[in-house]
C-alpha cells in the first residue's frame, strides 16, 4: 500500500464534494421522484392571530388533479405537538404546537390546510379555492409590550406572554461577586439598550421533504441539518416506533441553523403520506420559506457596564427580552440562554448578572441562526467596550487589552461559569493590527475629521470568543437538554479501502474532505481511499448532526477515536502475521513495523488477512471495524480579532466597508481552504446583520420582507473582499487541538462593522444606530445628533 508521507491534516485539499455539485449531478430532496408520488401545497394563514371559524374545502377538492385536502381538524388526533427539546426552567410555559392549525392561528404564515394533488401546479391551483373564515384576535407584536402586565396574550390558556425567566448570578453561582455592588461602586457606568433585529436564515435551498410510506420502514428524505434528531423526534411525538422510521438528508443546500428543526411541513408530509399510503413531496417556495421557516435573533438587550476610571471593567448586568414568536420549536427557548455564557467575552471582570425573559408574540417562532445566542452576546459586550472606550477617551484596542485574559492565565475560569482552556488574544490582535494598518487608518481618520470630509472613516473592533463544539452532555443537561456526543464508525474493507460513517450531517461544510484527511493521517491510507458516509439513519444509525460548530470538534474527534480502535484491533493480528509480540510493533504511516527493523506489514494486508480469517490468532474476532461515541468534557473556545474600516457618507448615510481584516484562532486547521470559506461566509452573514437584513412586520403582523425582493440578503456587489489571517493556539481538550470555525465569522463581524460605523460618526454626537445600519438610519442618526450640521472635531475634544 502507498503510505502518505506528508500529513493530510493542514493541507488545502480540494473538496471531494465538488465534482457532483459543479456538474449538476446533485441529489436535492426536490429532485426525488417516486412511483405514484403526490404533491402537497400548503395554505397559510394571512392573519397573525385569529380564530378559525370555518374552512370550506369543497371547491378545492373538485379541482383537476386534486386527490385530497386536509385541515387541522382532519389531522388533530394524530399530529401531536411539535417538539421542543429544551426545558430551560422547571416552570417554562410551552403551548401546544400543532403542525396544521386546528382552531386558531398564531402567526401569519401558519399552515391551515394542505392540498394533495397529482402535480405541484395542480396542488397550487387548488389552494386558491379553499375558503377560510377567520375571526381576528388581538395581535401581539411588540416585545416590550408583550412582556408587560396586562398585555394582550398570544396564548390565553397560559395567561401570560412570558414563557420563562432564566437567571445567572455570578455571586450566587460562586463564579464572581455581586454585580449590584459593582454598579454601586462604579466610577463609570455605561448603559445601553441594543436591539438584535429579527433575521431570516435564508439557506439557498428551500426546505423540501419527501415521504415514502410504502416500505417496511417509513422513509423521509428531508432538506434538514438533523436527520438523526428528526427521526427520534418524529418517533417520540407521532408515536411511530423509532425502528420503523428512516430519515435521509441527501444533498442539503445550506442550513445555518435554519434547518435545525423538526418542521410542521415534515410532520404534515408524513401524516398525509401515511393516510394516503402513497409517497408525497412538499417543497416550499422562497416566499413560504421566509414566512414560515423559523427566524433568528430578535432580542432587546439592556446592558449596564461598570468600570473604574482607569478603564478596568468591574461588572456587567444583562437584561434580555427574547422573542420566541408564537411557539417553542426545537431549540427556541435555549437560543438566548446560550448567549449567557459569553456576554463576558474575553474579559476577566469579576461580577456578572444575566437575566433573560422569553416572550411569546404573534410571529413565526425564532430558533437557531448561525451563532445562536452567541452573536447577540458578543455584539453586546464588544459594542459596550467601544462605548466605554469612547466614554473614557481611550483607544478601544488598548482598553480591551487592559481587560482581557492574558495568555499566561489559561485555563481561565470565567465569571459566567465556563473554563476557557486556551487562547492568545495578544497574538491574534497583534497580527490583525499588522494586517490592517491600524495606526495608518487612525491617522487618516483624524485627517478626515480635521478637514470635515463628507465621507468619514470609522474603525470597528471585535475581539471575540465563542463557545463551540456543542457539547458536553452534562452541561446541556443543566440547561434542560442533553445528548451532546457524536458518533463515528470506520469500516476497514478487505482491499484496504476505508468507509467512514459519521453521525454529523453536512450541508456544505466539507465533511467528506475533512474526515478523509483525518482518517488518512490516522490510518496511513491515501486520502482518495476514504469514503465518508453520512446523512442516512440506515447507514449512520447514531448521530447528533451538525450545528454549533460541533462537527470537527466533536464529530471529528469521534472519527479519531474510532480509528484508534481499528489500529488496536489490527495490532495483535499484525503481530501474529509477523510472528512477533504486539508490543514490539509501532504503527506509522499505515504500517505496523517491528521496532528497529525494516520488517513491516501494512494495514491493508491486515484487513485482507482479517477478511480471509484463515490465519488469525486464537480468539480474535475477524473484524477490524470500529466505532466510537465521543462526548466532550468541555466546549471549545475559538477566538479572534476582527478589524473593520468603514467609510460613512455623512450626506447620504451610505456605509461602505473599505477593509475588513480578521485573524481567527480556531486551533489546529484540518483544511485551510475550507476554513477560509467558512470564515468568508460567516463574515457575510454577520455583516448582513449589521448593514442589510431585517425581518419587518407591519402592525397587523404581516411579514413585509417576505421575499428576496424585500429582504436584503447581500449579493457579491454588496460585500467587500476580506483579509483573513490565523493564529493557532490549539485547544487542549481534544486530541486534534481543534475548536471549530462554522460560526466565528458571523459572531465576530456584526459588532466590528457597527463599531466602525459609530466610530465614523461618533464625533458628530451619534451614540448608537439600530441595526441594520441602513443609509436612512445612519443619516437620521447624524441629523438627530447634530441637527444636520456636522460638528467639528475640535469642538468634540475626541479626535482620536
Amino acid at each position: 500500500m502507498t503510505a502518505t508521507a506528508e500529513p493530510e491534516i493542514g493541507r488545502a485539499r480540494l473538496r471531494k464534494e465538488d465534482e457532483h455539485l459543479i456538474t449538476g449531478r446533485t441529489r436535492w430532496t426536490d429532485n426525488i421522484v417516486l412511483p405514484g408520488m403526490q404533491h402537497l401545497a400548503i395554505l397559510r394563514s394571512p392573519p397573525a392571530h385569529a380564530r378559525i371559524t370555518g374552512i370550506d374545502t369543497s371547491a378545492a377538492r373538485s379541482m383537476p388533479g386534486v386527490v385530497a385536502v386536509f385541515t387541522g381538524a382532519d389531522l388533530a388526533a394524530e399530529q401531536g405537538s411539535l417538539p421542543c427539546a429544551w426545558q430551560i426552567t422547571e416552570d417554562m410555559k410551552a403551548p401546544p404546537a400543532p403542525s396544521l392549525a386546528v382552531d386558531t392561528v398564531n402567526f401569519a404564515g401558519e399552515a391551515v390546510a394542505v392540498v394533495v394533488a397529482r402535480s405541484a401546479y395542480e396542488a397550487q391551483d387548488a389552494l386558491e379555492k379553499i375558503d377560510v373564515d377567520y375571526d381576528d384576535l388581538p395581535v401581539v407584536l411588540d416585545l416590550e409590550a408583550a412582556a408587560a402586565d396586562g398585555a394582550d396574550v398570544v396564548h390565553p390558556d397560559l395567561g401570560t406572554n412570558v414563557s420563562a425567566v432564566w437567571t445567572f448570578d455570578s455571586a450566587e453561582a460562586g463564579t464572581g461577586s455581586d454585580v449590584e455592588e459593582a454598579i454601586r461602586d462604579a466610577e463609570v457606568l455605561v448603559q445601553r439598550t441594543f436591539r438584535q433585529q429579527r433575521l431570516i436564515p435564508a439557506f439557498m435551498e428551500p426546505r423540501s421533504v419527501v415521504v415514502d410510506p410504502t416500505g417496511p420502514q417509513l422513509t423521509m428524505w428531508s432538506a434538514t441539518q438533523i436527520p438523526h434528531i428528526l427521526r427520534l423526534m418524529l418517533a417520540m411525538t407521532l408515536e411511530i416506533p423509532e425502528h420503523k422510521v428512516r430519515v435521509i438528508a441527501p444533498d442539503v443546500g445550506g442550513g445555518f441553523g435554519g434547518k435545525l428543526q423538526v418542521t410542521p411541513e415534515e410532520v404534515i408530509a408524513l401524516l398525509v403520506a401515511r393516510r394516503l399510503g402513497k409517497p408525497v413531496k412538499y417543497t416550499e417556495s422562497r416566499s413560504e420559506s421566509m414566512l414560515a421557516a423559523h427566524h433568528g435573533r430578535d432580542q432587546i438587550q439592556k446592558l449596564t457596564l461598570a468600570a473604574r476610571r482607569d478603564g478596568t471593567v468591574t461588572g456587567l448586568k444583562v437584561q434580555l427580552l427574547a422573542d420566541m414568536g408564537a411557539y417553542l420549536r426545537a431549540g427556541t427557548p435555549v437560543v438566548p440562554i446560550l448567549g449567557a455564557f459569553v456576554f463576558n467575552g474575553i474579559y476577566k471582570f469579576p461580577s456578572y448578572h444575566f437575566t433573560c425573559t422569553n416572550v411569546f408574540t404573534n410571529k413565526v417562532p425564532t430558533d437557531a441562526y448561525r451563532g445562536a445566542g452567541r452573536p447577540e452576546a458578543t455584539f453586546a459586550i464588544e459594542r459596550m467596550m467601544d462605548e466605554l472606550a469612547a466614554e473614557l477617551s481611550r483607544d478601544p484596542l488598548e482598553l480591551r487589552a487592559q481587560n482581557w485574559i492574558t495568555h499566561e492565565e489559561f485555563p481561565f475560569h470565567t465569571v459566567a461559569g465556563l473554563t476557557y482552556d486556551s487562547g492568545n488574544y495578544e497574538a491574534a490582535t497583534a497580527r490583525a493590527r499588522e494586517l490592517f494598518d491600524y495606526d495608518g487608518l487612525r491617522r487618516e481618520q483624524a485627517e478626515r475629521r480635521e478637514r470635515r470630509d463628507p465621507v468619514q472613516l470609522g474603525i470597528g473592533i471585535s475581539t471575540f470568543t465563542e463557545m463551540c463544539g456543542f457539547a458536553p452532555s452534562r452541561i446541556l443537561g443543566s440547561l434542560g437538554g442533553g445528548a451532546g456526543w457524536e458518533h463515528a464508525a470506520i469500516r476497514m474493507l478487505p482491499t484496504g479501502k476505508v468507509e467512514v460513517v459519521t453521525g454529523s450531517s453536512p450541508h456544505g461544510q466539507g465533511h467528506e474532505t475533512a474526515w478523509s484527511q483525518i482518517v488518512a493521517d490516522q490510518l496511513g491510507v491515501p486520502f482518495e481511499d476514504v469514503e465518508v458516509l453520512h446523512g442516512d439513519t440506515q447507514t449512520s444509525p447514531r448521530g447528533m448532526d451538525t450545528y454549533g460548530s460541533r462537527s470537527l470538534a466533536v464529530g471529528g474527534i469521534a472519527v479519531v477515536k474510532a480509528a484508534e480502535k481499528v489500529i488496536s484491533k489490527a495490532r495483535p493480528i499484525a503481530a501474529h502475521l509477523m510472528e512477533c509480540a504486539a508490543d514490539d510493533l509501532e504503527f506509522t504511516q499505515g504500517q505496523f513495523r517491528v521496532k528497529g527493523t525494516e520488517k513491516a506489514v501494512g494495514l491493508a494486508d491486515v484487513a485482507l488477512a482479517v477478511f480471509a480469517a484463515t490465519d488469525l490468532p486464537d480468539g480474535i474476532e475477524p473484524n477490524l471495524d470500529s466505532d466510537a461515541t465521543y462526548d466532550p468534557d468541555n466546549f471549545s473556545f475559538p477566538h479572534g480579532t476582527h478589524l473593520c474600516a468603514a467609510e460613512v457618507d455623512t450626506e447620504t448615510g451610505q456605509v461602505r466597508i473599505r477593509s475588513y481584516v480578521c485573524v481567527d484562532d480556531i486551533g489546529h486547521v484540518v483544511n485551510p481552504l475550507i476554513v477560509d470559506g467558512q470564515v468568508h461566509g460567516g463574515l457575510a452573514q454577520g455583516i448582513a446583520q449589521a448593514l442589510y437584513e431585517e425581518a419587518v412586520h407591519d402592525e397587523s403582523g404581516t411579514l413585509l420582507s417576505g421575499s428576496f425582493a424585500e429582504y436584503l440578503m447581500p449579493s457579491a456587489a454588496d460585500l467587500p473582499s476580506f483579509t483573513t489571517g490565523r493564529t493557532e493556539t490549539p485547544a487542549t481538550t481534544n486530541p486534534l487541538g481543534v475548536k471549530g470555525v462554522g460560526e466565528a465569522g458571523t459572531i465576530a463581524s456584526t459588532p466590528a462593522v457597527v463599531n466602525a460605523v459609530l466610530d465614523a460618526v461618533r464625533h458628530l454626537g451619534v451614540r448608537d444606530i439600530e441595526m441594520p445600519c441602513t443609509p436612512m438610519r445612519v443619516w437620521q442618526a447624524i441629523h438627530a445628533a447634530g441637527a444636520g450640521r456636522p460638528a467639528t472635531s475640535d469642538t468634540e475634544g475626541d479626535a482620536r
Binding site: L14, R15, E17, D18, E19, L21, I22, T23, G24, R25, T26, W28, D30, N31, A120, Y121, A202, F203, M204, E205, P206, D251, V252, G253, G254, F256, S285, R286, S287, H507, G508, Q509, G510, L673, I674, D676, G677, Q678, H680, G681, G682, L683, A684, Q685, S707, F708, A709, M713, S715, A716, A717, L719, S721, F722, G745
Partner: protein, 179 residues
C-alpha cells in the same frame, strides 16, 4: 402547446401548458435537476441557464418562449467524456462553493459574464454576479474563481469545449426579449 427545444445538445418535442416555466420543464419533464429553484421572485439566480447562448433565469422564462431555442444547463457543460468546463474547474479549484445550491446558476452566469468581458476586474465580477445569490461563501472565492476562469478561458480560447454555444449565440441573437 407543442414546443421543440434543444437542451444540452438533445432535441425534445413536448406538449406543455402555456404557463409552464422553463425551469419546471427542465426539471420535471426532462429530469434536468441540476438546475434548481431558489426563489420565486427572480432574485436569486440559482436557476440560471443559457438560452440561445445568453444567460437567463429559467424561472422567468416560459417553456413556450424557449420553443425552437437552444438551452444549455450546467449538466451540458462537461463534455468530451466528462471534461470539466474551465469555469467548473475554477469553481472547484478556488473553493467557490460550499453547499453548492447556487453553483449551477453561478457557473452559467459566469460563462455569460466572461463571454461579454473576458478580463473583468473585481468590481466587474461583483456587479456581473449581482443577480445570483449565495449564502455560504461570502462571494470572495466565487470572485476569485471567476477571475481564474477568465485567465483559463483566455489561455484556451481556441480549445474551448464550450465555444459552440457562443457561436450559436452569435448566430441566433434573436431572443433579446427574454434576456
Amino acid at each position: 402547446m407543442r414546443i421543440t427545444v434543444t437542451v444540452d445538445g438533445t432535441t425534445y418535442t413536448d406538449d406543455v401548458e402555456p404557463r409552464l416555466l422553463l425551469v419546471h420543464y427542465l426539471r420535471d419533464r426532462l429530469g434536468k435537476v441540476g438546475t434548481v429553484v431558489g426563489c420565486d421572485t427572480s432574485n436569486c439566480g440559482a436557476c440560471t441557464v443559457h438560452l440561445n447562448g445568453y444567460s437567463v433565469k429559467s424561472c422567468s422564462v416560459l417553456a413556450v418562449q424557449a420553443d425552437g431555442g437552444d438551452v444549455m444547463t450546467v449538466e451540458g457543460l462537461a463534455r468530451d467524456g466528462g471534461k470539466l468546463h474551465p469555469v467548473q474547474e475554477a469553481f472547484r479549484d478556488n473553493h467557490a462553493l460550499q453547499c453548492g445550491f447556487c453553483t449551477p446558476g453561478m457557473i452559467m452566469q459566469t460563462i455569460d459574464l466572461l463571454a461579454e468581458n473576458p478580463d473583468p476586474d473585481e468590481e466587474a465580477v461583483r456587479l456581473g454576479l449581482e443577480g445570483n445569490l449565495c449564502r455560504c461563501t461570502g462571494y470572495q472565492n466565487i470572485v476569485r474563481a471567476v477571475q481564474d476562469a477568465a485567465g483559463r478561458l483566455r489561455g484556451t480560447a481556441t480549445d474551448d469545449t464550450y465555444a459552440d454555444a457562443k457561436t450559436v449565440a452569435a448566430k441566433a441573437d434573436t431572443t433579446g426579449g427574454v434576456r
